[in-house]
């Protein structure tokens, strides 16, 4: 059909938008290898000094390490809870099912600023000092809808009769879960874990309220913004982390799409 052929302007439009989307990211990258601490034309020259200085900047590295700890912990908890809720959702019928599902999905809708101040209120009322733990708890809540969706769609993808077969052969239900269900949804669990990890690692809106004296990387980055001369180092680390996050996302996509 002739009218289905790519109209010239449409592909032009597509790639101009793509260029527009990549432009600021390219600017960030250039900024991290720029000699000056401000980004002004003409560029004076390129340097990898910022990347070198980065590995001597203790506070920056500590913030990055804090983020790593929070992201690993919260993504592990979110995957565990997400797996539990998905099994309940796809394999059980019970009265409070809709309530539990609504509760698990709502963090997707509630504005982060509202959830952030609500958790701040909770921790203050019960005299819990703000720390990496409080940030991690918040990140588990917001990552749960993602892990739930990824694992539940995997569970929907295979027939429950496989489990019935295992139970007819004499396996009790916990054994069936461990030996049959978990291996089948394992790729989805890995994908969920990676997704939750990236959600937490980049999260700023909640962490700003809950981090206290141990900043995660985004919070630290924000606090350093007013010192112009430190900005290139921060951007250099951010570029490295960005590459790491992208690698994780690609990995998560591969696991999500993997068929048995």
């Amino acid at each position: 059909m002739s009218n289905r052929r790519a109209p010239f302007p449409l592909s032009i439009y597509y790639f101009s938008i793509i260029a527009f989307l990549y432009l600021p990211i390219a600017v960030l990258f250039l900024f991290s290898i720029n000699i000056n601490t401000t980004f002004s034309f003409p560029l004076k020259g390129i340097t990898f000094d910022w990347y070198q200085k980065l590995f001597q900047a203790d506070a920056v590295l500590r913030a990055a390490r804090n983020s790593l700890i929070v992201a690993s912990g919260s993504s592990f908890a979110a995957t565990l809870l997400g797996t539990m809720v998905s099994i309940l959702m796809m394999r059980y019928q019970f009265r409070s099912k809709n309530l539990l599902l609504a509760l698990a999905a709502l963090p997707l809708i509630v504005p982060y600023v509202v959830l952030g101040v609500a958790l701040l209120l909770l921790f203050s009322v019960f005299h819990v000092d703000r720390s990496l733990l409080t940030v991690g708890v918040a990140h588990t809540v917001i990552a749960l809808p993602y892990t739930l969706l990824i694992i539940a769609s995997r569970l929907a993808g295979f027939d429950a009769s496989i489990e019935e077969a295992a139970m007819d052969l004499g396996a009790d239900y916990p054994t069936t879960l461990r030996r049959v269900v978990l291996p089948l949804i394992f790729p989805a669990m890995v994908s969920a874990w990676l997704t939750a990890f990236t959600v937490s690692f980049d999260e700023f809106a909640l962490a700003l309220f809950l981090a206290g004296t141990q900043p995660t990387f985004p919070v630290y980055l924000f606090s350093q913004l007013r010192f112009a001369n430190r900005l290139p180092i921060m951007i250099a680390l951010a570029v490295l982390l960005m590459i790491g996050t992208l690698a994780l996302v690609f990995l998560a996509e591969r696991f999500r799409r993997r068929e048995t």
Binding site: Y14, I17, L81, P111, V117, V141, A205, A238, M242
Partner: protein
Amino acid sequence: MGRGKGGSVTVPTPTPALSLFRRKKGEGDQRSGGGLDRRSTFWILYLPPLIWLGLFFLIPILLMAAFSFRADTYGALFGHWNIGLNQYATVVETGSYWRLLGVSSLMALMISISAVVLSYPLSYFLAFHAGKRAGLYLVLLLVPFWTSYLLRVMAWKIMLGTDGVINSLLLYVGIIKEPLEALLYNRNAVILTLIYVWIPFAALPILAALQRIEWTLFEAAADLGARPYHQFMRITLPLSLPGVFAAFFMVFIPTIGEYVTPLLVGGSRGFMYGNIIQDFFTKAANWPLGSALSMIMLAATLILVLIATRLIKLEDLLQ
């Protein structure tokens, strides 16, 4: 002896009907045993998420709701407090809060409409004209979206600043003599940045809706003599509307609660409603008033979601 062996089975099974019955019964017994497993497994699966979400999601929000009815800001957080509606009265009386909520909604509306309009052709291109390379092009579109949100916002700060990329480029080329101050720290900067952030995200539900349209519809329309323009207006656009609505709400709902982007590129002139909530919980330290403002924001968001779920079937999006 063979008979004797048979006899050692306590109840002989002479007829097929009976054996069927017994098998069924045996299976039933096993099932009920399995049922007990299932029931205890249920509680193991049910309690941890329920307790976690109760403690760290439901209770904080209920606590905030309770706090918004606290009349004063004195005394211990957990101590005795007077109950009253005066925080809400303050909100109602203070016109600037409502104005800011109105402005934030308007900004969110502009941002989500722009993001949807800009990304519709992207999805259309991917769905109908990208051919074999559609997968690759889609990844190309999504990489910026997978990039750190904070970084993308910061990139715009570097782009728009007084000594930023755009200003220094314009100065270098000689179009302007003085750096433009009007680029950063206002509402336009927030709107531009957020449209930029949401474009790839808005394209996804529209693409999903376009891909579900049956090819035969286009063929039938072409056979009946419909021109491409009419095909688009009568088939493509109406059938992609669920995706368009989904994209709109998926952008609008998080945008109306935004406070980070205004903080970075908006400055005090680009503040949104979320920023006053943040202020009351940090600098101003008036938590009851901040709670009341949060509850209003939460109610507004939930009403929006209810409207959205009326317009779109959620199952359509999960495919």
